[in-house]
């Protein structure tokens, strides 16, 4: 009884802190989210903007029985995992390097922030220019070096990975940002202990840095994962999902359903499927982390 009473105080303080943020989130995001959820089980289309009759899970069934859907799911997972892994590994490497240098630090940092400051749409436009197969500078340089021209986005086997490369080029900076901040707030003490315990820089990284950075790193990974799952600007500008369906990721699929197909309800259903997948992966990810600890 008394135990509860004490916890109660903490509990209330906690809610007092959490409330403004949660309230704001609830007010601004709550309605759209609920509305989107309602739409996903309604018969609302742009041509017939009425929620009724409700159709239950029919939209989900429709969407899932679409031949392109499961391909899109698989593609999205593949794409997200590859980009997040790439961004994390490269980003961690860069963050560590930056953390260790003394001189030039601000310069490196300034350069690293550049890609973040570009919206994905402009990044896509720019890379379309650079990778233009016939006139672009990249293929031109390849040719200068005696290499064959590459059909970066027009080849079904390549397009997704080109897109992933562009995404990594841009988004790695974001991972660096968070990891660098995480590194900066690690305590110095354990490193001194590790030094005298004879740990090499690599071992320090593996046994000290990585575990201590884990909470922040995990969050960076998750946020990135969510962002990648929702990617739609890049395929929108770069490939429109093509060639064929080779870059048709799930949120682009949802976009097509909602805005081209005018079936907001099916778009919402596809979106919720995506949400469930990401949520599942997120929970799984944290469960794994916790078990490994």
């Amino acid at each position: 009884m008394r135990l509860a009473a004490f916890a109660d105080r903490d509990w209330r303080t906690g809610w007092a802190f959490a409330a403004p943020g949660l309230l704001m989130l609830a007010i601004v995001m709550g309605f759209p989210l609920v509305y989107a959820a309602v739409i996903s089980v309604s018969s609302l289309t742009l041509l017939r903007p009425s929620l009724t009759p409700f159709v239950g899970l029919a939209n989900f069934v429709t969407v899932m029985s679409e031949p392109l859907f499961w391909g899109a799911v698989w593609l999205t997972i593949k794409y997200s995992v590859v980009t997040v892994a790439g961004e994390f590994i490269i980003g961690l490497g860069i963050a560590l390097m930056i953390n260790r240098t003394v001189i030039m630090k601000p310069v490196y940092f300034a350069v690293l922030t550049i890609p973040m400051a570009m919206s994905p749409v402009s990044v896509a436009l720019i890379w379309r220019m650079l990778l233009q197969p016939n006139l672009g500078i990249v293929n031109h340089m390849l040719e200068v070096f005696g290499l064959p021209r590459v059909d970066w986005l027009g080849n079904a086997d390549f397009a997704l990975w080109t897109m992933a490369g562009i995404d990594i080029w841009q988004q790695t900076s974001f991972v660096v940002l968070i990891l660098a901040a995480g590194l900066a707030s690690l305590p110095r003490d354990p490193y001194e202990a590790a030094e005298v315990d004879g740990a090499s820089p690599l071992q320090q990284f593996w046994y000290i840095t990585l575990p201590m950075l884990r909470p922040v790193a995990a969050i960076a990974v998750i946020i990135q994962l969510i962002n990648e799952f929702r990617t739609y600007d890049l395929p929108y500008v770069l490939t429109k999902g093509g060639p064929g369906a080779s870059t048709e990721v799930l949120s682009f699929f949802a976009y097509r359903r909602a805005f081209l197909g005018l079936h907001l309800n099916e778009g919402a259903a596809a979106s919720f499927v995506l949400l469930l997948i990401v949520l599942g992966l997120t929970v799984l990810f944290f469960a794994t982390l916790e078990r490994r600890r």
Binding site: P187, E195, V196, A199, Q203, P211
Partner: protein
């Protein structure tokens, strides 16, 4: 091959403050050295420089004859107990202790054995799987100690490793450290504020003050013959009584004359002190040289009791004597001695181990040492 030489080593911190100034010290292989000094005098800084964790601003550091100013800490193979413990917060006690061994490629079963052994020694066995955050202060300190003693390094640097332990455990640990030293024969540098540790554990003690080494010597030598009033007062509690007086020849005797008291300098010191006759001096006498009972050779001094502290083991008396403003002396007396505050009690001073210091330089006036050379 693992002597540690500090050759005019200084440490200047970024803010312009000196941590250590011009320290010159050679620690022989296998020696057990105690660092002692007031808070902030540079003990930890010196240790950290030896470990390689702090850059050396000037001077040279050699380990086993090899200059190591630029050698990374991990290549020096030194085990350190940090004053702040510096435990790995994300590792269990077991992993904390095993880390150093693991890094040096020791086989898993060997590590396990060593950890279990050390944990048994330190009373940490029930806590092996906890994280440091769930330990008490003393338990954390023991983990820090355990992390060092499982290893077999070139030298151990222990920075107040027992400060947060209870007296009993501390006594046990003291013994264990001495045993460890005997068994491995490794150099040990031990920072402590504990008089018992300082006096009993080390081959030598090094007394630091404001970044400098002021006296280095065998514990009882330093205790018996402090080079100045600082060391004289520093080494024991209650510290040595220091009384301003004048040295005067009286017949063929030499007298210490102060405001309201006169004491005769013992025969054996007369020759040494004679040259200073007629000068102001500071007269030093340790509290344990004031006795409650008269004995031949002791000189009587009447003290008005100002304070009486019963430590259980013994009683400390603080008394005043002489003219206004009165002088003060403390005396260590038996636990059975009692006296009312304000009462006047006669105490009997043994002046044989007396000291005289120059009031200006605070340096001791030389006299033959009373210390017998240890066997």
């Amino acid at each position: 091959m693992s002597s540690i030489e500090l050759d005019h080593v200084s440490k200047l911190y970024a803010n312009g403050a000196y941590g250590v100034r011009d320290v010159d010290l050679t620690i022989e292989e296998g020696e057990f050295v105690i660092f002692l000094g007031p808070s902030g005098c540079g003990k930890s800084t010196t240790l950290r420089m030896i470990a390689g964790l702090e850059s050396i601003s000037s001077g040279d550091l050699r380990i086993g004859g090899r200059g190591v100013n630029n050698v990374a800490p991990r290549d020096r193979n030194i085990a350190v107990v940090f004053q702040s413990y510096a435990l790995y917060p994300h590792m269990s006690v077991r992993d904390n202790m095993g880390f150093g061994l693991k890094m040096r490629g020791v086989a898993r079963p060997v590590i396990e054995t060593k950890i279990n052994e050390a944990a048994g020694l330190l009373g940490l066995t029930p806590y092996l799987d906890r994280k440091p955050a769930a330990l008490s202060g003393g338990q954390r300190q023991r983990v820090a100690l355990g992390r060092a003693i499982v290893r077999d390094p070139v030298a151990f640097l222990l920075d107040e490793p027992l400060s947060n332990l209870d007296a009993q455990l501390r006594a046990e640990m003291r013994l264990e450290l001495v045993k460890l030293h005997r068994r491995l024969g490794r150099t040990i540098v031990h920072v402590t504020h504990d008089q018992v540790e300082a006096m009993t554990m080390g081959d030598r003690i090094c007394i630091m003050r404001e970044g400098r080494m002021v006296q280095v010597g065998r514990p009882l030598d330093v205790y018996a013959d402090p080079v100045d009033t600082f060391v004289a007062r520093f080494l024991a509690t209650p510290p040595m009584n220091l009384i301003p007086a004048r040295l005067e020849s009286r017949g063929d005797g030499l007298m210490l004359i102060g405001a309201g008291f006169e004491l005769a300098v013992p025969e054996r010191h007369r020759a040494a002190y004679q040259p200073h006759s007629g000068r102001e001096v500071i007269f030093g006498l340790r509290p344990e040289d004031l006795h409650e009972a008269p004995q031949p050779g002791l000189q009587r001094l009447d003290l008005t009791v100002v304070a009486m502290e019963s430590l259980g083991v013994e009683n400390i008396l603080v008394g005043q004597f002489g003219l206004e403003p009165a002088l003060e002396m403390s005396a260590r007396l038996s636990r059975h001695f009692t006296a009312q505050i304000g009462a006047t009690v006669p105490l009997y001073l043994d002046l044989t181990p007396m000291h005289l210091f120059d009031p200006e330089t605070t340096r001791a006036l030389p006299r033959p040492s009373l210390r017998l050379v240890k066997p």
